[in-house]
């Protein structure tokens, strides 16, 4: 299988750039914007030139396998890690100048749900409230009631699910404009996970807040995200709205009749599978122009196969890996 034309960055934002009336190119409409964000740990390049644009009011899924660099990106967004190079803008402000202002308006739930173990649920609510001027008592109370959190229990006695719910309550109660969730369903059982994703994240999105969440579970992202970015080995492989991604990434199958056409001139090929009597080509950005170019190569009646987000994820990651192998 040969690989052609995979790029990091904003390359795949072409085509359908608008979604929910938000123009991805309009800086003022971006909740998060990163430019060539890079982070190196010694010799290890954890994040490699990632340029992301998260439109305001969207639910944005950061998709990648474990160790892909999602958490590192999020930690840089939150100012817990300094980028080796590149820039981060959250809600139009930069971290180095407006960190306090950003933290007033941004909520973050980390994968490990860091809390003070010795506090009771009631104490942690009271403690967190002290830091946020926008704290909404009614909302906090309603969330606590909805989640059935035991107010007198110490946090160290809570289950993982309840810890996640408490973290979310503490984050949502001050009404942040942007909510960043790092692997929010990690370690949760399927029922809690589904409740978390389908009810909570969707609800937050419907309130008009921006949600960025990372996950390695494609199904989760596909279910709730308006936009997705696929990360692999620190690189941004694709970023687009989920619908436009599905519309632009296609697999095309055609018979080869013994001779395989030279497809090197056709742009945006993710991968080619050579079977015995046919070829299957995956295109990152399949358009009418691609069809015309295929016809010029004698491929006049290709079968266009639909791809799920999982297929797109798997093919793009696989293609990237094979490209890396070829390069080495």
């Amino acid at each position: 299988m040969s690989i052609v034309g995979l790029q990091t960055g904003e390359a795949s934002l072409n085509g359908l750039r608008t979604m929910k009336g938000v123009n991805i190119q309009n800086k003022a409409e971006m909740a998060i914007e990163t430019q060539a964000l890079t982070r190196q740990f010694g010799d290890f390049l954890a994040v490699n030139g990632v340029s992301l644009k998260v439109p305001k009011g969207s639910v944005f899924g950061l998709l990648g396998i474990n160790g892909a660099g999602k958490s590192t990106i999020i930690k840089m967004l939150m100012g817990h890690l300094r980028p080796t190079s590149g820039q981060v803008t959250l809600l139009g402000r930069t971290l180095d100048k407006d960190l306090v202002e950003i933290r007033k308006r941004v909520g973050y739930v980390s994968e490990n749900r860091y809390l003070y173990e010795w506090m009771t649920v009631a104490e942690s609510v009271k403690f967190t409230k002290a830091f946020h001027e926008n704290w909404d008592d009614a909302k906090a109370e309603s969330l606590l009631k909805r989640f059935g959190l035991p107010m007198k229990k110490r946090i160290k006695q809570l289950s993982r699910g309840n810890r996640a719910r408490l973290c979310l309550t503490l984050t949502l109660a001050y009404n942040p404009e942007l909510i960043i969730l790092d692997e929010p369903t990690s370690g949760l059982d399927p029922i809690v996970r589904r409740d978390f994703i389908e009810n909570i994240v969707v609800e937050i999105g419907e309130e008009g807040r921006t949600v960025l969440f990372s996950s390695h579970i494609v199904e989760e992202v596909e279910r709730v995200a308006d936009y997705v970015a696929i990360i692999n080995e620190g690189k941004l492989l694709m970023t687009s709205s989920v619908d436009s991604l599905k519309a632009s990434v296609k697999r095309v199958r055609f018979a080869t009749n013994g001779t395989r056409p030279d497809l090197s001139e056709i742009p945006s090929i993710l991968g080619i599978e050579n079977l015995r009597h046919e070829q299957i080509v995956t295109f990152k950005n399949f358009t009418d122009e691609t069809l015309r170019l295929l016809a010029r190569k004698g491929i006049t009646d290709p079968e266009i196969l639909p791809l799920s987000l999982e297929d797109i994820f798997v093919y793009s990651v696989r293609a990237e890996r094979e490209k890396a192998v070829q390069e080495t």
Binding site: R103, S110, K126, F127, A130
Partner: protein
């Protein structure tokens, strides 16, 4: 940082450290308590409190002050290093510090509250333990010794207590310096015990280079100027601004270094 945030941070620090520092404070009194009990109940000890009278009270209180000061500037400082090692590192190690880092508050404000609470506790422990042990010792003397009356010894107690306040100033400043050094190590090293070891090593270094002077500032002058059987507290912990200011400058340097490191610390 507004008042509510400050109150919340102080509450958290207090709740996290109250038992530790209470244990610490009690530990500072243990030698004095043991000494008092031995003097009171052990018939074979020459220094028997029970048979004392008003004229001997002064000598007893002065000895009490010197013994407690000696304890505080040796073992007490190691205790400070031990406890200050846990001021910041455990919260970074177990990542609970993330919780504060995500709040709209500057790191230097978080650190300042931690330092202030810890420093006050350290000063209270090393400094005020001199006053409290002296008071406890005096109370024991009045209660136990049949020949000692409050009216007959009060002025002696007040006079020794006044000297004790000078000792409190000295040991408080030295304790603050030791606290700030170990606090700095606690910020640098994520494992609290590494900070404790670093603090203890630097303390040994301090004793090696300054030990003689530290004892001289507080104790040695008393012993050298004393005549046989009579202590002279006039030179006890005599206020000398230069070393005190120097130690406060060193303390500030450690604190601001800790603040710088804390500000740059990454949470991986």
């Amino acid at each position: 940082m507004n008042g509510q945030m400050l109150k919340a941070l102080l509450w958290k620090e207090w709740r996290e450290t109250r038992w530790k520092w209470l244990a610490f404070y009690v530990a500072f009194h243990i030698p004095a308590i043991i000494g008092t009990l031995v003097f009171t109940f052990n018939k074979w000890v020459r220094f028997d409190i029970m048979v004392m009278n008003n004229s001997m009270a002064n000598q007893y209180l002065q000895t009490f002050l010197l013994v407690q000061s000696g304890f505080v500037i040796t073992a007490g400082l190691f205790l400070i290093a031990f406890f200050a090692g846990g001021a910041v590192a455990p919260e970074i190690d177990n990542r609970s510090m993330f919780f504060l880092f995500e709040r709209p508050i500057r790191r230097r404000q978080i650190l300042l509250v931690k330092f202030a609470v810890g420093a006050i506790q350290a000063i209270v422990c090393v400094g005020f333990s001199i006053i409290t042990t002296l008071s406890l010792g005096y109370a024991a003397l009045v209660v136990v010794a049949s020949g000692v009356t409050v009216s007959g010894t009060w002025h002696q107690f007040v006079s020794v207590l006044a000297s004790g306040l000078r000792g409190t100033l000295w040991t408080g400043v030295i304790g603050l310096m030791v606290f700030s050094a170990t606090f700095f190590f606690s910020v640098i090293f994520e494992k609290w015990w590494v900070g404790v070891i670093a603090g203890a090593v630097s303390l040994i270094g301090m004793f090696y280079f300054l030990g003689g002077q530290i004892f001289e500032w507080i104790l040695t002058n008393v012993i050298n100027s004393s005549k046989a059987g009579q202590l002279n507290l006039e030179l006890y912990a005599k206020i000398d601004p230069l070393p005190i200011i120097t130690m406060l400058i060193v303390t500030s340097a450690f604190y601001f270094s800790a603040e710088y490191m804390f500000g740059r610390k990454e949470m991986k």
